[in-house]
Amino acid sequence: MQNNFTDETFLARWLNNELSDEEVKAFEKTEGFYTYKRIVETSNLLEKPFFDKKKAFQRLLQSRMVSKKKPVITLWSYWLAASVAILVGIFALLPSESIYKSLEGEQLAFNLPDGSKVKLNAKSEISFYEKKWNDKRELNLEGEAYFKVNPGSKFTVHTKCGDVSVLGTEFNAHSRNNYFEVLCFEGRVKVDFMNDTIILKAGDAVRFMDEDKESWIFTQQSPSWTKGESTFENLPLKEVVKALERHYKIHFEFKNIDLKQRFTGSFTHDNLELALKSVFYPMGIKYKLRGKKPILLYRK
């Protein structure tokens, strides 16, 4: 089955009709000739990959609009700006950072300068530089947020654990201490964690806990917490309890409880009693409300 070719470009030249007549004749007599011919003929039937030029250019124009928003500055407005700058004085020298913060039991929804939408879950914080936004879409996140990103230039979410970046898509990012979780609802999302880079497609999710990586697939259209409910997929009880604490401004005490066991399910945000029942009843854990003291969790 091996052919002995005179050199390493023989077949390339054959394809380009650059061989001499003798070379061609000799080649046609070899065993492999028919297969080579067939490969070439069949590959001629392959169609070009699909690419919609018009649509792609429209998308490009849209993202350009976003970055093109810089207003035209006339000369006199420089004067105005200068006098304002003097008045504002030292404050103008400090880069102004916009901070959005939700407290325990609170959620917050707002738009970024380019119209991208953010929903902030309880006890979370987002900060970014509004002035630099048109040049670089970058923000810092502590806690959990759901993003609906308008198409455009690269959009990056920095967290203490790792970075998430996209061009335009919907995703949920959750980062606290040693916990980092990203769910992709639309488009594709790039997640950088330590030295690991992961690409998520719609319906993919990944989670890092104390450097252990877990990935799974899900079917919801948007995070349940934006609809008054928190849902968990095979999550250690420790994290579920923390989520309860964040949503209801409560605290727990544990007796005889293994916080490493995993919980799959959900709890509502507007009824503490029901929320406690739906988490702990299926786990076989009892709870006791004790007024202002932390709620006691125990197992007999």
């Binding site: 390339a12 039937l45 169609e47 990959p49 030029k53 250019f57 992961i198 497609k201």
Partner: protein, 175 residues
């Protein structure tokens, strides 16, 4: 394409009309080029987008004639940053030519079977060989044109094409 390059060397890329022309000229082939590398049309589309956004951002600095090499360089870098070398899965829409209808049923079966196997074998080719093979067979690019795109000599492209065919034959076996 060459005509446009020669006649309008001083055009500013910042003009939307010019930019659109440059986009229409280079984006499709750039898309295919990246697609042959990764086999994922979403990824290749995003990379093309990002490369042209970079071009737009630098429209004052980049000369009209350099636009092509600019977007190719950016796209190649983006691709390198991006890929954590997932297994390539190329999906092709294939035309079924009319002449095949004349053939006997067994022949059609055999032919389509051969295509499926060839498809898989192409997807399994090493990246460099696959890109050369596809650009030549599908986009009908000459070895010289591919050499410019990939920043290597024409000789290197010929070698890759040769290797691609040898590997494909090994995979397919003689029929």
């Amino acid at each position: 394409m060459e005509e446009l390059d020669k006649t309008n060397t001083n055009l500013s890329l910042c003009k939307t009309k010019v930019f659109e022309k440059v986009f229409n000229l280079h984006a499709p082939l750039l898309h295919n080029f990246i697609y042959y590398k990764c086999g994922d049309s979403d990824v290749s589309e995003d990379i093309v987008q990002e490369a042209f956004i970079k071009l737009w951002e630098n429209c004052k600095k980049v000369l009209f004639l350099k636009a092509k090499s600019f977007v190719y360089t950016v796209a190649k870098n983006l691709f390198l940053n991006h890929v954590s070398h997932q297994k390539v899965k190329l999906k092709y829409h294939q035309e079924i030519p009319d002449e095949l209808n004349i053939e006997s049923p067994e022949y059609i079966m055999e032919e389509s079977e051969f295509r499926v196997i060839l498809n898989d074998a192409i997807a399994d080719l090493p990246e460099k060989q696959r890109v050369v093979f596809m650009l030549n067979r599908i986009d009908k690019k000459t070895y010289a044109e591919i050499a410019v795109m990939m920043d290597v000599s024409v000789k290197a492209i010929e070698k890759r094409m040769h290797q691609a065919l040898v590997i494909l034959r090994e995979k397919l076996g003689d029929v």
